[in-house]
Amino acid sequence: MAAGMPPRRAPFAHASEAELARILDFYEVRWTYEPDTFPVGWSLDGDVVESFAPDFYLPDLDLYVELTTLKQKLVRKKNRKLRRLRELYPDVRIKLFYARDFRMLMLKFGRLALADELSGTVGQATPPRAHAADLAPAPIAIAQAAAPDAATDDGEEPEGTDPAGDEAPAGGTRGRRRGRRRRAAARAAEAARRVVVGETEPA
């Protein structure tokens, strides 16, 4: 635990995020998990339709860190949102850690095998029991096996695969996470339905 930081159990959306948090703790770098949400897109009515919540904020370094473990070719959407964020909030310092960066970090620490275990859909955190009612357990298991790169629970999605449009508008972090879980569950259920009835798997 970083010096001066209260004990916390952040509900990480992805195992790789938990691993990065352990690394930061190890080197006594203070962090908070998804503390801020930045609106990056609005409707004509002025409603927020797209937002970006970086995974970590490192207060001592005044730096946001976004970690993605998707393969490079699947992060176009995240890159676009990051560019938008930098345009709209030029004073915000943010570092995007790609899958390759994370793997190299694990390689440096001699834990490359762990990077493989934590990357992509495989590394998705199991939803807490408290939220089990929000999810459809059986279809999720089938859908993950059927479409490993289609979506992750932390809002990472390949271009054009987000049926709900995008992350929730700016709001409470807990509500946004719950919303993401619901949408992930809906996507998983739909993917499972397609598998069951023999339709084409999601791209």
């Binding site: 352990r22 690394i23 190890f26 080197y27 006594e28 370094l61 899958a99 190299m104």
Partner: protein, 188 residues
């Protein structure tokens, strides 16, 4: 009789030749000698990767100086799994209170280790604390740290040799090279 293993066979590309390293280290030594003339210079090196650089650099500095060595645990090291916190495995052997300290590093990438060390050493009240690194990999930087003396800025590749290791191997190569990806099976 066991046949010698050719470690260089695992190197995909030689990034810095022995000659290029030597020339740059000599240049750094000259600059440091000028900048620290008349001061109480202490070189602090971080084991183990910095050893060859430290050994060569100190002999290129034409000033009276002290050296000291530190070792800190790295994330994932078996000796530190239980604590989950970085540990000083070997501390300074003498006080640096009032000394002009130059921290000698082999490579700076994320800056996490160096950030920790700087905070630790500042707590020991040196007169000045500066950073000298042979290699700087800014693409991977998480913690921004001002580097006072930089040997080479290198691309975002996994390098070994001249003190840098992979699995404790390759430190004794005379050059800095890029490890073949198949050696560690990075797949992107």
């Amino acid at each position: 009789m066991t046949r010698p293993v050719d470690l260089s066979a695992d190197i995909g590309e030689v990034l810095l030749t022995e000659e290029a390293i030597a020339a740059r280290v000599a240049e750094l030594g000259r600059r440091i000698s000028e900048d620290y003339a008349g001061r109480n210079l202490t070189l602090v090196s971080v084991l183990k990767g910095s050893l060859p650089f430290m050994a060569d650099l100190m002999r290129q500095i034409s000033l009276p100086l002290r050296i000291d060595l530190m070792e800190v645990s790295s994330y994932g090291g078996t000796a530190t799994e239980s604590s989950g916190l970085v540990r000083i495995m070997k501390d300074l052997s003498k006080s640096i209170d009032g000394e002009d300290v130059l921290l000698v590093e082999d490579i700076i990438d994320t800056g996490l280790t160096l950030n920790y060390l700087i905070r630790y050493l500042r707590g020991k009240n040196p007169a000045t604390l500066r950073i000298c690194t042979l290699l700087d990999k800014p693409a991977r930087r998480l913690v921004e740290i001002p580097v006072d003396y930089r040997g080479f800025e290198i691309p975002d590749q996994f390098v070994v040799g001249y003190g840098l290791d992979y699995g404790e191997q390759y430190r004794n190569l005379r050059f800095v090279g890029v490890l073949r990806p198949e050696v560690y099976s990075i797949i992107d």
